[in-house]
C-alpha cells in the first residue's frame, strides 16, 4: 500500500474501528496493521474513543454451552476426562507438561534427569520482577528459589552514564535496602541469590536499581538516584499432598508455541500467586510472556554453570 499522509491514515483507522470497511478492505487493513505500529496506535485510539458507544448495554447471560465449547478448545480433551495411566499420571497432565517444558526441564536438570513433582504435576515456584522506570519496563528478573539462580535481562536501554554502574537492591519490609550486586548494561546475566536475600522475597517491598559509581555503592547503601523499581511476584506451588516421581520427559519441540494450554493443576499453581498486589501483576503484564519464558530458558541453560553470589 502507498504511504499515506497522517490524516488519511487516521481516517482509514477510523473507518476500520467504526466497522464500515467491506470484507476485502478489512482483511487488507488487518494485514497492514500487523507490520505498521503507527497505524496500530491510530486504530487503538479510535477503538478507545468509540468504545463509549457501547455504554448502556443490558447484559445477557450466554447459555452454558458457550463456555463448554470454549473449554473444549482451550483445555485438552484428555485433561477434562482425567484418565489416569499406570504411572499415576493422566495423559492430560503429561500433555500439560508440554507447555511447562521449561519448568520441567529446569527441575529435571537439577535432579539429574528425574522430575520429582507433586502428583498433580505442579511446576516449581518462581520469583519474577519487572523493574520499571520513566520509559517503562527496563529490567526483568526470573529467580528459581530452589537453585537460587536468578536470570536478569535488560529489556530497554537504561541510559546508565559510562562512568557509572547500575546496582540492584532488595527493599526489605523493614530496614535499609540490601545490595544484590551490579546489573549489566545490556543483555542477560545469571547470578546466584544469597539465602539471606532469598528469605526476604516473600515479604520484601520489592526491588530497586540505583545509579552508583563504578564498582557499586561505596557505602553499602544506595548513594545515587533510584530510577527503576518493581515489585516481586512470587509464584509458589501449593502444598503438595502426595509426591510422585516420574521419568524425565525429553524436551518437546517448540513447546511454547503449542496451543494446548497446561493442565488445570498448573493453573491452580499460577492462581496461587501469593501476596501479589494487583499493581505487581499490572507491571508483569507490561512484559510479554515470551520474554519471561525466554529468560527462564536462560536460567535453565545456566543451571550447570556457577554464578557469582549476590
Amino acid at each position: 500500500m502507498k504511504p499515506l499522509d497522517s490524516k488519511l491514515r487516521d481516517l482509514l483507522a477510523g473507518r476500520y474501528a467504526l466497522g464500515v470497511m467491506q470484507a476485502g478492505a478489512r482483511l487488507r487493513f488487518e494485514a497492514w496493521l500487523r507490520y505498521d505500529p503507527n497505524l496500530r496506535q491510530l486504530t487503538q485510539r479510535w477503538e478507545r474513543q468509540l468504545d463509549g458507544l457501547n455504554a448502556g448495554l443490558e447484559p445477557v447471560v450466554p447459555p452454558v454451552s458457550v463456555w463448554q465449547a470454549i473449554q473444549r478448545r482451550v483445555v485438552p480433551a484428555t485433561k477434562r476426562n482425567e484418565s489416569v495411566t499406570a504411572s499415576g499420571f493422566s495423559v492430560g497432565q503429561l500433555r500439560g507438561w508440554r507447555s511447562l517444558a521449561l519448568f520441567a526441564s529446569l527441575t529435571a536438570v537439577m535432579l539429574g534427569g528425574w522430575i520429582v513433582a507433586p502428583r498433580d504435576a505442579v511446576p516449581p515456584p518462581m520469583n519474577l520482577a519487572v523493574l520499571t522506570g520513566a520509559s517503562g519496563a527496563t529490567y526483568l528478573m526470573c529467580n528459581d528459589p530452589i537453585s537460587r539462580k536468578a536470570a536478569f535481562e535488560v529489556l530497554a536501554d537504561a541510559a546508565i552514564p559510562d562512568d557509572k554502574d547500575a546496582e540492584l537492591w532488595l527493599l526489605p519490609a523493614n530496614g535499609a535496602p540490601q545490595s544484590m550486586g551490579l546489573l549489566p548494561r545490556k543483555g542477560r546475566m545469571v547470578k546466584t541469590v544469597s539465602v539471606e536475600i532469598l528469605a526476604q522475597f516473600g515479604t520484601a517491598k520489592g526491588l530497586a536499581v540505583s545509579i552508583e559509581p563504578k564498582g557499586g555503592s561505596p557505602t553499602g547503601s544506595p548513594t545515587g538516584p533510584i530510577p527503576f523499581q518493581g515489585k516481586l511476584i512470587n509464584l509458589w506451588t501449593k502444598p503438595a499432598s502426595t509426591t510422585t516421581t516420574v521419568a524425565y520427559q525429553p524436551p518437546m519441540k517448540s513447546p511454547m508455541k503449542s496451543m494446548s494450554p497446561p493442565s488445570r493443576s498448573t493453573a491452580e499453581v499460577l492462581s496461587a500467586v501469593s501476596g501479589v498486589e494487583n499493581k505487581a501483576i499490572d507491571t508483569l503484564s507490561g512484559v510479554s510472556v515470551e520474554s519471561i519464558l525466554r529468560l527462564q530458558q536462560v536460567l535453565r541453560d545456566s543451571q550447570t554453570n556457577a554464578g557469582g553470589e549476590v
Binding site: 466497522g19 478489512r26 443490558e58 447484559p59 493453573a267 499460577l270 499490572d282 503484564s285 510472556v289
Partner: protein
Amino acid sequence: MGVCCVVSAVTSAYLLNKAPQKTPLMEEDSKTQHIDWLARCALRDQSAFQSLYEDTSSHLFALALRITRRRDWAEDVLQEAFVQIWNRADSYRPDIAQPMTWMGTIVRYRALDRLRRKKTDKATDEFDDWQVEDTAMIDPAQSVANLQTGSELERCMQELADGPRNSIALAFSQGLTHQEVAEQLGEALGTVKSWIRRGLERLRLCLHHETA
C-alpha cells in the same frame, strides 16, 4: 409475518435468561481485577480465565447480540472471541486500553467478520430469516444518549449534525454497512456515505484535537 412472533419470543427468552446481577464491583476495582485476570490468562491460568468469563461474558454476549442480531451467531462470536482472548492475553497492554475495551473490540471484530461472511453463506443457510431479530435494531439517538455525560466522545458526537451522528452511531453499534445504514435511515446510499466520511473527519478533528 411469522417472523415477528418468533422474534419477540426470542427477545423475551433473552430477558428471561438474564441472571440476577452480581453486586457490581466499583468500576476501578473491576478494571484492576480484569487486568489481573488477563495477566494470569497470559500465564495460562485457567481458573483466572473462568473468572474473567463469568464476570464479562454477559456484557460481551449482549454486544455480540446487538451486532449479529442472531442468537446462534452471537454464541459463535462469543466463543471465538474468548478463545482469542485466551490465546492473545499476553498481548494485552493495560497502558493502551481498558480491559473491557480490549475484549469488547475483539468481540466486535469477530461479530463483524461473521456479519460480512453472511453475504457468501446466504445460499446455504436456509434458516437465515427466521432468527433475525428485526426488532433489535437500536435507536441511534438512544446510543448517543447512553454516552457517558461529559465524555469527550459525547461532546464531539453532539457537535455533529443529525445525519452523520445517527449514521456513525448505527454503523458502530450494529455493525451496519453503508448500504444497511442507508436502508435503516431511509436515505440514499451516497448521502449516507458522505455523512459517515464527513462525520469521521469532524470526529477526528474534535477527538484528536487536530486542526483542519
